[in-house]
């Protein structure tokens, strides 16, 4: 286990360094970031000032080295010291990129965790039920509904749900409230975003768990278990379910990775100030350090979840050896 984790973490760090290098060079080599950051009414003095403040007058590889080492050991700017992990300062707000991201993280994490619980419970539950009652009316209804729901985009469903519950005055507008100070407000504030965000996921997990369960029920070890007289429920839940966990966990890892990196459309639709919304705002204001920071952060989350998924395989499937 430990050598596996060590090797995978090393691989992930190499990938991240490469990814940040590619992104950095594309971002900072393409145009003059100072010009991009100060927009359409820009004077030569402003540009020079930005250059000096951000060290943009140095050659590109030096700039990248400064950026990279800043992440690990911190970095000194003319405007002050930026302690590790330092992703630089925002062009637009002049704030520290890392602390801005950390401010936004609770919103995004709450959204991701709550949404994941919704789509796992409903999606897997409905999928298992449909597989258990395969061919019945119930199965057909579940399959049909999930097919339709998987085609409804967040940006279509969001306004409708807001119209029914919020504009009519039934509920307050969705907002993020700190969980530790007000759990009830936290729950009510995020309930609609969770439901809307997880609709497509719920539908996909229903379809996926149903089809993998049906596949698993045709496996030989399941047939043997049935043949030797094991109770059907036990075979279903212990044998077939365990086998279908592998593909589900794979997809779940990918989905969680991208959800924790910011659910842009959901956050935008419900005006929640999460990491996704931060990314959109930074892109529209051409705030490159912020965009770069969010991108590296999200990629890191995806890689972390990949490692978790691969480690989970060993627990689910005894045939998998982490070597």
């Amino acid at each position: 286990m430990l050598p596996f984790l060590f090797r995978r973490t090393f691989g992930a760090i190499v990938t991240l360094i490469l990814l940040s290098a590619v992104t950095f060079f594309v971002f900072f080599a393409v145009g003059d970031p100072a010009l991009m950051s100060c927009g359409k009414n820009c004077t030569a003095d402003n540009v020079a000032l930005i250059h000096q403040n951000l060290g943009l007058d140095k050659p590109l590889p030096t700039q990248y080295w400064d950026f990279l080492s800043g992440i690990f050991v911190g970095r000194d700017y003319t405007i002050g010291h930026c302690s590790a992990p330092c992703f630089g300062y925002s062009f637009a707000t002049k704030q520290d990129v890392w602390s801005t991201m950390m401010d936004r993280l609770p919103t995004t994490a709450s959204l991701a965790i709550g949404g994941a619980i919704v789509f796992l419970v409903i999606g897997l539950g409905a999928g298992l039920l449909a597989a258990w009652k395969r061919g019945t009316v119930l199965d057909k209804v579940v399959t049909g509904v999930s097919m339709v729901l998987s085609s409804v985009q967040i940006y279509i469903l969001g306004p409708i749900v807001l119209g029914i519950f919020v504009y009519s005055g039934v509920m307050a507008s969705p907002k993020y409230v700190d969980f530790t100070s007000n759990p009830g407000g936290w729950f009510m504030g995020l309930l609609l975003p969770w439901l809307v965000m997880s609709t497509i996921f719920t539908a996909q997990y229903t379809r996926m768990s149903r089809s993998t369960m049906i596949e698993q029920l045709q496996e030989e070890h399941v047939r043997t278990a049935k043949a030797k007289g094991m109770p059907a429920r036990y075979v279903f839940l212990r044998y077939a379910w365990r086998g279908s966990l592998i593909p589900i966990v794979t997809i779940l890892g990918m989905d969680l990775g991208s959800l924790f990196g910011g659910a842009m459309i959901t956050e935008f639709t419900f005006s929640l100030a999460g990491i996704g919304r931060l990314a959109i705002n930074s892109v529209t204001t051409l705030d490159l350090p912020m965009v770069l920071g969010v991108l590296i952060f999200s990629a890191a989350l995806i890689l972390v979840f990949n490692i978790i998924v691969d480690a989970t395989y060993a627990f689910i499937d005894p045939r998998v050896r982490l070597s």
Binding site: V30, M36, P159, G262, M264, A279, I280, V294, L295
Partner: protein, 344 residues
Amino acid sequence: MTSPSQTAAAQSDTPGLEPEGLKKEKNRKGGELVGRSPGQLMWTRFKRDRTGMVCAIVVLAFFVISALAPVIASIYGKDPYTLYGSNDPSLFDDFGFPSGPNGGISGDFWFGIEPQLGRDLFTQLLYGMRTSLGISVVVTVLVVITGTILGVTAGYVGGRADYWLGRVIDFLLAFPSQLTFVAFMPVVVAIFVPPSDETPTYIRVVALILVQWALGWMGLARLLRGQVLSLREREFVEAAKITGASPWRIIRKELLPNVVTPILVQSTYMLPLFVTAEAGLSYLGVGIMEPTPDWGRLFRTAGDIYENDPTFLLFPGAAMVIFVLCFNLLGDSVRDAFDPKSGR
């Protein structure tokens, strides 16, 4: 998913290696044995699938209507740019919302008019679909070509090329796709125009295509590589090698026909994803900008004004749900037609 051997058995068109008699279907016509190509078999099965046929027609209708947008608009007599509200103030109430019921739907404005600006929604939707579908079709074609070439070549050549392609795919998969699209859009645009200038629409279109293409091909390439990896060990490939066929010929004549099924199935699943992704980017305000009509941007407008004018969402929303739903059902039908064993 289809195992490669099933795929190959179901639709290998290498003559002589798969006697027609071994096929499951009885190819009898008037007491005489008539051979049918795998394509014909697929078509016969597909025609029997009612859902598939209906969806194929609906999807086709979407493409035809989008392609004919200018023609339909000229018959209808309006365009998506004119601010009809400012020519005729009676269309609006005091707050800039359509004065008629249901978002101003009338004989003149079939789907109503846009609040504040007073543009015609029907033509906006037509042209918007044309923009979105056009971009998505180009992305799909590019992705399929790239994925096929890289995947099949890596699978067949193996060795170092295969190893490096695997690393590149792993690397690109580490990019959070939606966020990367959003993040790279302004940068890719900046490659073509300096940020101080106005960006022409076609540059945004090119940028949208480029970012989606760059991060879209890996899934297909990896899938095809896997299929080719097992196909290249089969006898017909060995036979071709012994007769002295060049690698290029083997890829083209022996391997490609055997991976047509996954390519077709994958591309029918891919296209609606690209459509919703493109619409999502425009919804977030980084895709196609005003005044060019775009499907996704209609949802942004609809979301902003939903409280006062909910009808605005109805037509663009219904159109997109129907389009994506039908395309997904079509994908399932195509898969079933190629591989009857997969069954739902």
